[in-house]
């Protein structure tokens, strides 16, 4: 015996990163200036700085359909 209903919700998702692993690879590099830096791969990786912040916050607006 079921009752048909639906649920709408609003909330926050707070994400607190505690572990991160970065893999950075250069597949192609034909830069004629690359010999002018010590480590071209590290240079690009460091400047790009793909990493985590101390926390993230998302708004979450949802619609649920029970079965």
């Amino acid at each position: 015996m079921g009752v048909q209903f639906s649920i709408i919700s609003i909330g926050l998702n707070v994400l607190i990163p505690f572990s991160a692993t970065n893999e950075f690879t250069i597949d192609e590099s034909d830069d004629e200036n690359k010999h002018k830096v010590n480590d071209p791969e590290k240079d690009l990786k460091d400047r790009f700085d793909h990493n985590t912040n101390s926390l993230g916050i998302e708004l979450a607006i949802s619609y649920s359909i029970p079965f």
Partner: protein
Amino acid sequence: MILIISPSSAFAAKVNRVNIKRRLVSIDEGKINGYIKKEVVCFYEISGANIGCGKIKRSSLYKSQVRVSIKLINKIKIGQKAKLKNEAKKNGFQPPKFAFKLIINPTLISHIRYNKIAYLPPEAGVESVETLWDKSDGPKFAPITFSLAGNFMRYRTSLGIRGKLYRGLESKSDYIIANDEFLSTKITSNSYAIYFEIAAFRTNSLTRRQFTLNLGIDYEYSMAAIKGTKESYDSGQSDVIYSAKSKLYVLSLRVAPELYWVFNSV
């Protein structure tokens, strides 16, 4: 993110109104707790003594009207308790085992970052430089973020996936000073996550509004691709001279407070 209902709760109702002429008793429980049409509801004195029973004539999500006999209607008073007769059906509203949840997640603060970069050509004749890249702030948020979750409602748990599509970034800078060549650097990025949550705290009863605090673990894979293309202003010729990929795997703690509203859709 989860609607929690205790299946073993006895959803006792209270008499709100008595219409003697029409032999109808209004109570403050409805479909959501198993008080549905034709179910038998019994009324009780404050002492607990059973006064008598009647059948539900109509019910909405949170209210019902019970038709009773002429003899019984005169015994029922406002404030008295009422319950479904059949103990098994007292829990007639069985919370669904599963609910499918569609979510949009506008990012307010991103927990993953990267920079926009532009090529920084060495001055002519300089043999050694500290860096070949100039950096500036990357995207603050992903314009398209969506989640799909499965809620195992009776077990207070939820398993979901999330996707984020970022707007591409592009910068153009000289490749060699005093030359007609420039380097176009394009960055494309997206990320995908899987998460698991459990309702650590919730308000007690199933009501029209409920607050839940979910705690969980979130595992996100973020990928960014960098492509540097050397182009010529004059000839229009282009060559890809940089191609790089950055993959970031992030484990995060999820804290997700949520307020929800239940709507009758029958």
